[in-house]
């Protein structure tokens, strides 16, 4: 082994030793230096290039959008996307922004985020489910059927819904919006009849709001779950099961045209 080779390795090692030592000192200095300038948020939202090939679907809303209760994990959004993919032979780009337990107030916040706005902007189709958590409040709504409280909740909800649709239309004028109505998961319980009445009125008012916007389609689901509700509900007796989601998806799929 030549002496020069050993010397070369030694010197290289020494050079890296100093380099890494410098890196260490820099890291400590930088970590404790504090912020010098604040990072600017991008002010203007850049225009997105629409997805030319295929269909873009953006889904927003609550656990129904998420697909909670579906053993396959797809939810009605996933099933619908699969069906459209088969029917059109086009690639589908699906963005599912549904958040479990989301209320209309929280969705109102969510649609104002820049990136969510961008996702809506590039969509050909927007799917919305919201309101279930406002009305049922995780089953608590069943205990408290006071007309006053409910009409108060509904007033807020209608206001939020209006805002959400405005926001969607502001971002995207052309996309078809499908708004999925509520069903009554408690229809076979003692107070099911009264609850049904409330849900029907709730749906009617939601449909009215949808009608005020162009290309916003209200999709009723009340009738799907009216007769054999327990066949279509997950074990939590609140969310649809795989079959229930499939029925909702089929109903929306039959409405899609382009």
């Amino acid at each position: 082994m030549s002496k020069n080779y050993v010397r070369l390795v030694t010197i290289t090692g020494a050079a890296f030793f100093l380099l890494w030592l410098g890196g260490l000192a820099w890291a400590v200095g930088e970590y404790y230096a504090g912020s010098t300038e604040s990072i600017q948020k991008p002010s203007a939202q850049e225009k997105v290039v629409p997805n030319k090939k295929g269909l873009t679907i953006t889904a927003i809303g609550d656990s129904l959008t998420r697909g909670t209760g579906d053993e396959t994990g797809k939810g009605y959004v996933g099933v619908l996307a699969d069906e459209l993919k088969e029917r059109t032979n086009q690639p589908i780009q699906l963005t599912n922004l549904g958040i479990n337990g989301q209320t209309s107030g929280q969705l109102r916040e969510q649609v104002q985020q820049i990136e969510v706005g961008r996702q809506i902007q590039k969509a050909d189709m927007v799917l919305v489910t919201i309101g279930g958590n406002d009305l049922f409040r995780g089953g608590e709504g069943l205990m408290d059927l006071e007309t006053n409280t409910i009409s108060e909740i509904e007033k807020k909800y209608i206001d939020n819904l209006n805002f959400i649709f405005q926001q969607i239309r502001k971002n995207n004028e052309d996309a078809t919006v499908f708004f999925i109505g509520l069903y009554n998961p408690f229809i076979e319980l003692d107070q099911g009849k009264e609850m049904s009445k409330i849900v029907r009125r709730w749906n009617y008012d939601s449909a009215e709001v949808s009608a005020a916007f162009p290309k916003v389609v209200f999709v009723p689901t009340f009738d799907i779950f009216e007769l054999n509700v327990n066949d279509y509900l997950y074990t939590d007796k609140f969310h649809p099961n795989t079959k229930g989601y499939r029925l909702i998806a089929e109903r929306v799929a039959s409405l899609v045209t382009w």
Binding site: M1, K3, Y5, V6, R7, V9, T10, T12, G13, A14, F16, F17, L19, W20, L21, G22, G23, L24, A25, W26, A27, V28, E30, Y31, Y32, G34, S35, T36, E37, I39, Q40, K41, P42, N51, G54, R66, P91, I92, Q93, L94, T95, N96, L97, G98, I99, N100, G101, Q113, I114, E115, V116, R118, Q119
Partner: protein, 326 residues
């Protein structure tokens, strides 16, 4: 002294340890590159796009949904919450947290290698640097020379430090070259956010700043190197104390692995933060990941590691200069 170091370096090179380490790193980097590539591809297939904003937004929503599950431990929930806030911060500021390219791969590789992989590679050299002299009997030849004992040990320690520096450089170079084949060699100037501070109530973003990735990488390399030196010194001490290389390696390995395990479960045992092995993940501080035990900071971890380093160096020299050799 210079001659002694040259001599030690010659022994190191003759043993071909560095070549073996380079081979191991090379093979593993190939594996990691492939795994990373698969990961990117799966994400793209799932969402039908490779727009990073869409992917990040989807990750944010997915994390939010995981947070709504009631069966989460408090620490895990906090960790998710912090990563959620970071992602949202990146998204709000229109910065891609993982700009595709070799530099990002190096960053991820270093962050994952700092607490186990790099220390293991260092151990390959450090564990037998003194004890092997015992086992093959050359220690007597070395010590009968008219050189002070501490000088002999010093030359060994210095050549160890040089070798460690080379290992870090090899790891960086190989991961750059190999991952670049797949991800491209660009992205040195991509911005990255640092300075997130994890507090009891969540993530503090008031001190964040933007850095070029190459600067950030230099800092990461510095931290990884420091960890490697500390672990190397500990292994060096064991090599002086224990005649058997295998036993020394076993002790060191047990310590490192126990650190990896402890990291996940010590959050309630506060005094565990004085162990060196829970302080190895220095790069997490740069990233703003929550530390394993509340209240740990970069300077704390550096101090703890420094004390362990100084102590083991002192013990090595004391024992080696006093020990009877027969």
């Amino acid at each position: 002294m210079n001659k002694l170091i040259q001599n030690e370096m010659m022994k190191l090179i003759a043993k071909k340890r560095l070549v073996v380490i380079a081979l191991i790193i090379g093979v593993l980097v190939v594996l990691f590159t492939y795994a990373q590539y698969k990961d990117v591809q799966r994400e793209r297939d799932k969402l039908g796009t490779n727009d990073w904003r869409t992917i990040l937004q989807q990750q944010i929503v997915d994390t939010t949904n995981r947070l709504s599950s009631s069966r989460l431990s408090d620490e895990w929930r906090q960790e998710l919450q912090i990563s959620l806030q970071q992602k949202q911060y990146y998204l709000d500021h229109d910065i891609n947290p993982a700009e595709p390219g070799a530099p990002t791969f190096i960053r991820i590789f270093l962050e994952n290698a700092i607490d186990l992989f790099i220390p293991l590679m260092v151990m390959v050299i450090a564990s037998d640097i003194v004890s092997s002299e015992h086992s093959i009997g050359t220690v007597k030849l070395l010590l009968t020379r008219p050189v002070r004992r501490w000088k002999v040990l010093m030359s060994k320690y210095i050549s160890l430090c040089l070798a460690i520096s080379l290992i870090i450089a090899i790891a960086g170079l190989l991961s750059f070259l190999i991952s670049g084949l797949v991800f491209g060699y660009k992205g040195w100037n991509a911005p990255i956010i640092t300075g997130f501070h994890v507090t009891g109530s969540g993530l503090n973003t008031s001190d964040v700043k933007l850095l070029d990735l190459w600067k950030f990488l230099m800092m990461d390399f510095g931290l990884v190197w420091f960890v490697a030196i500390v672990v190397g010194t500990l292994a060096f001490m064991l090599s002086v104390l224990i005649r058997s290389t295998a036993a020394g390696m076993g002790v060191m390995l047990a310590a490192l692995i126990s650190g990896a395990i402890l990291n996940n479960m010590v959050s309630s045992w506060e005094s565990a933060k004085y162990f060196f092995m829970v302080n190895l993940r220095l790069t997490d501080y740069m990233q703003g990941n929550p530390p394993p035990i509340e209240g740990m900071t970069l300077s704390f971890s550096l101090m703890v590691l420094f004390v362990w380093w100084a102590a083991s160096l002192a013990v090595s020299f004391l024992v080696f200069t006093k020990k009877d050799v027969f």
